[in-house]
């Protein structure tokens, strides 16, 4: 079964799921795109791993309900990324993020730092700084940066995912990169 699904395209998987309702096909399809999905959720939720799982389940549920009526004429990945972003944004609005972040920061500051080899430590510290820069940006700019610079989607696909015209996406992307560069300068990263 697994071997058979591996050779199927997204559209073929969707058709098979629409015909049979097999959960294995659904899970395979979902897992094929889970990395991108997780990157989007992570950037929107500002790195809260404990909330990621909840959002993932919400996305899976929404997809499971809507996939039987999904038209294969539209792009599945664009559709999935749009659901991912929307669900993560909804979750962010619902939960009191500020309180959680403050608690998390207090917990981290009270922790004793682990001893790591120098190289790993430097890399980790650069990662931490870049994460801080990313999370300081507005949600829309974070998502656009991830979709463009990490997932390398086209501006028109990003526009479809975010319900924005291409021109708006382009100007927001340029602004996001500039904001990131300004914050990196302020934090003296390079």
């Amino acid at each position: 079964m697994r071997q058979m699904i591996n050779n199927l395209s997204d559209d073929a998987c969707i058709k098979q799921f629409q015909n049979t309702g097999e959960e294995e096909v659904f899970n395979y399809l979902l897992n094929r795109h889970r990395v991108t999905m997780r990157r989007i959720i992570y950037s929107v939720l500002k790195g809260s791993k404990e909330d990621m799982e909840d959002v993932e389940q919400e996305i899976a549920l929404a997809l499971f309900k809507n996939l039987p009526s999904f038209s294969v004429k539209s792009s599945f990945t664009t559709y999935l990324y749009r659901i991912s972003r929307n669900k993560a944004v909804d979750f962010l609005r619902k939960t009191d993020r500020r309180r959680k972040i403050i608690n998390k920061a207090a917990l981290l500051s009270s922790r004793k730092p682990q001893e790591l080899p120098d190289e790993t430590l430097v890399k980790k510290s650069i990662h931490e700084e870049i994460k801080k820069v990313l999370f300081q940006l507005p949600e829309m700019e974070r998502t656009i940066l991830v979709l463009k610079d990490v997932e390398q989607l086209s501006l028109s696909d990003i526009g479809t995912i975010l319900h924005k015209p291409v021109g708006t996406v382009k100007s927001r992307l340029h602004r996001a990169r500039l904001h990131a560069a300004e914050r990196m300068k302020a934090r003296e990263i390079i």
């Binding site: 959960e23 659904f26 899970n27 979902l30 897992n31 889970r34 990395v35 997780r38 990157r39 992570y42 950037s43 790195g47 791993k49 990621m52 993932e56 389940q57 899976a60 549920l61 499971f64 650069i126 990662h127 870049i130 994460k131 820069v133 990313l134 940066l145 991830v146 463009k148 610079d149 990490v150 390398q152 501006l155 382009k170 992307l173 340029h174 990169r177 500039l178 990131a180 560069a181 300004e182 990196m184 300068k185 990263i189 390079i190």
Partner: protein, 148 residues
Amino acid sequence: MGKNLNTAQSFLDKNMDVPDNILQSMTREELDTYHRMEYFRKNLTEVLDSEMDTAPLRFSSNIPDKKHTVLKRFLVLPAATLFSIAVGFSLYHTVQLQKNYRELVREETRNFITTLTSSNAWWESTVDENALSSDWFNADPIVIKSSF
């Protein structure tokens, strides 16, 4: 933002390297900004992936099977219907009782007011008849005597 930075970003948008002639025409400040952008862009994937959970996603729809459907049809639904009827009847009964009680109170009030307005027995019975016929009402007029 300078024109050169805009042009450089357009190349980045197309996932292309920025040509040397554009980089050479940038000012020092523009070049620094561009390097920061590039650094951020190149490290972003690594940063995100270092935080990612690689475990596969498992989703179970928990669709009820046939057994559950039969149970639902023959046990849960009739029970829910009976419960709704019982609650509805008790609510109706309560409303009716309240309505009757209100009617009773209204009737009693009406009777009481009729008693008040149609007869003077209520105040007569409260006054002592001896008091009405006593000499107290037939007292001599008061005479004021002046010493002047």
